[in-house]
Amino acid sequence: MFPFHLRPDQIVDEVNEFNNQLYHGINTMTEIGDIDVGASEKEPVYHEDKLVLYHFKPLVKNPNPVPIMIVYALVNRPYMADLQDGRSMIQGLLHAGQDIYLIDWGYPDAADRYLTLDDYINGYIDRCVDEVCRRHNLKKINLLGICQGGSFSICYSALHPDKIKNLITTVTPVNFHTKDDLLSRMVRHIDIDLVVETLGNVPGELLNATYLSLKPFRLIGQKYIDLIKLLEDKEQARNFMRMEKWIFDSPDQVGEAFRQFIKQFYQQNGLVNGSVRIGNQKVDLKKVTMPVLNIFAKADHLVPPESSRALGNLIGTKDYTELEFPGGHIGIYVSGKAQKMIPPSVGEWLNKR
């Protein structure tokens, strides 16, 4: 059967409709004003270089006495975890009775070019953990890592198991050589030494372009065609623009740390092979003996589920739980479905321990 039932005048009408939507959309864009991000009240409690450690105001009278410290990735900005009212993992965790701290790495510049993974993990993260321990008079706290921050959190927990009570990883890459990991394939044959020697810090714009090139037709084209319909509504336009702001708000990557991360994790698959070294110490995942909750997204195009799930077979803990979220890499933090599923599950899991 001939499948096309489109007359030229129908097409003209459809394109005309699209044209009108585009017109209204652009009109909306000129009226929506500044885009604000952040839903939860917080205060800075520790500064070091460009790093700021924030403490979020608890939303329940007696929060969990052992706080969670969130370690975000060096890529993009951490406000994604607290994007807006009703689309905030942090807000959900606060409602679930948790006490939350968050590391904001800031925007590195040329003077930070020689920061290493050792400086980040045994330096910044360790001092933030100490600060939270000091404030709560505790010896151990809970650690929650997001994406690359999850990989850092795993390394930290292996190197300092005496300071971590429970470890939670979210969309965290562990096996960097799964067959469906396009990012890994893209960097497999790149001479990272040459890249870092040439560029110093690696521009955030370059990373953005790399992410877009994972699904170029959807992310550069179809997404904006879909958007044109949404733009009739100002609130929906604002929501979209918040995400857009976050997606393209990409700090440059510190040269040395980037070199070490790409080489040891992406190219050598060091977490799986047991070859990762942070400073002078070898990361032995068998030393991750605290309870671990590993949350991954089923439709994650950046960190394939198989990559995250590899953690279970590598660590030394006997208390390991997996939680699969039916969505994508970003949806796990901001979608309505995620708000109902992730924070309550984390709260419940922690309360049992």
């Binding site: 499948p3 020689y114 560029l199 065609i225």
Partner: protein, 386 residues
Amino acid sequence: MSKKYTSSSWTDDWMKAQRDYLDAMSALAYSPTRMANNGKVDNPMSDAMDFWWKNVSPRISEENREFIDKLAEQGRIFYALSEHFINLLKGINTISESSENWEEALTRQFDELKNFFITTDNGQKAMHGMLSAWNLLPMDTLQRTFSSGSIMPGDILEDLKPETLEEVTDKFLSIPGVGYSRELQEQVQIGIKLGNNYQKTLREYTNSMHRVSIRALDRMRDKIIAMAADGKEFNSMREIYDLWVDCNEEAYADYVFTDEFSELYGKLTNSLMEVKQHGRNMVDEVLGGMNMPTRRGMNSVHKRQQELRREYKEVLKKMAGLEEKIEIFEKNKIKAEPPQPVAKKSGAEKGKKASGGNKKPTRKKVSKSSARKKTSRNTDKIVIKL
């Protein structure tokens, strides 16, 4: 603070663009196909969009312009696709009226479309516009990023166009430098060789992406035929656009998960880095000659500064540890102070106490070893407590 555009004049521009656009659209819909015109392609809707955007964009705030530009670009692509598919459908419709074998007609139309994209300049241009994804190729972005970060005015790569490079033969580049500027000649020759290598790799990459696009069209044709066999229909341009996106993503995924892509992508990045690094080294030479800060020099400074900061933080950590130990030691010392000796009370003193008389304490001598014992015991207790 960004200014917001509130004037109604851009609405007028829009209305004019709308009129142009509708005229163009109607003309396209009711006129013979305009694609195959000595390779010249007319895109009236896209042109109308371009016209409107050129008028409006300067008056939109800086903050929103980039984003709206993205929207407008996608609008242009949607229009361009619509135009191509109107032509395609018209071709198919004409044949389907006289023949039942529409699949053959569809294949022929797709072949014509591919041929148009492959063999004509305008076709390639149209393809590039349609596939705006390639306009944001990582390498193009990389190149722009470098340009914006370059110390040199403009982009060093701008002068390394393939058409000029192709004129420079390897033979010419292998002539050794002579005379006073021998080293500079050598450096320039190396730079041109590296640039040439990058451009060759970039062409290889772009060609591979074109092949992906052509495969996407094949896939789209097959899918249309399969959908028809299942009794499915297309009732809007949007459905066709979505299918086009799906087919492109699938064809792209088929390619980028191959080892060939991984190697080519690495080769492309590395070749660009070599060009850029060479350019930067030459700039450093010039700056060094003028006694100005160079990248190499700044790297040394930053590296040493980072090492110092690392040592400083290590020292602070050790000091904090020592202070803590001292504090514990001081606490223990206080607690370990020997208890005040109490002299044995004589019967008379006992009597005094009983009668409420004042006593004057006398210090009892304690042997050193006994004091040490007590301190040690007290310390153990406290450590356990801590």
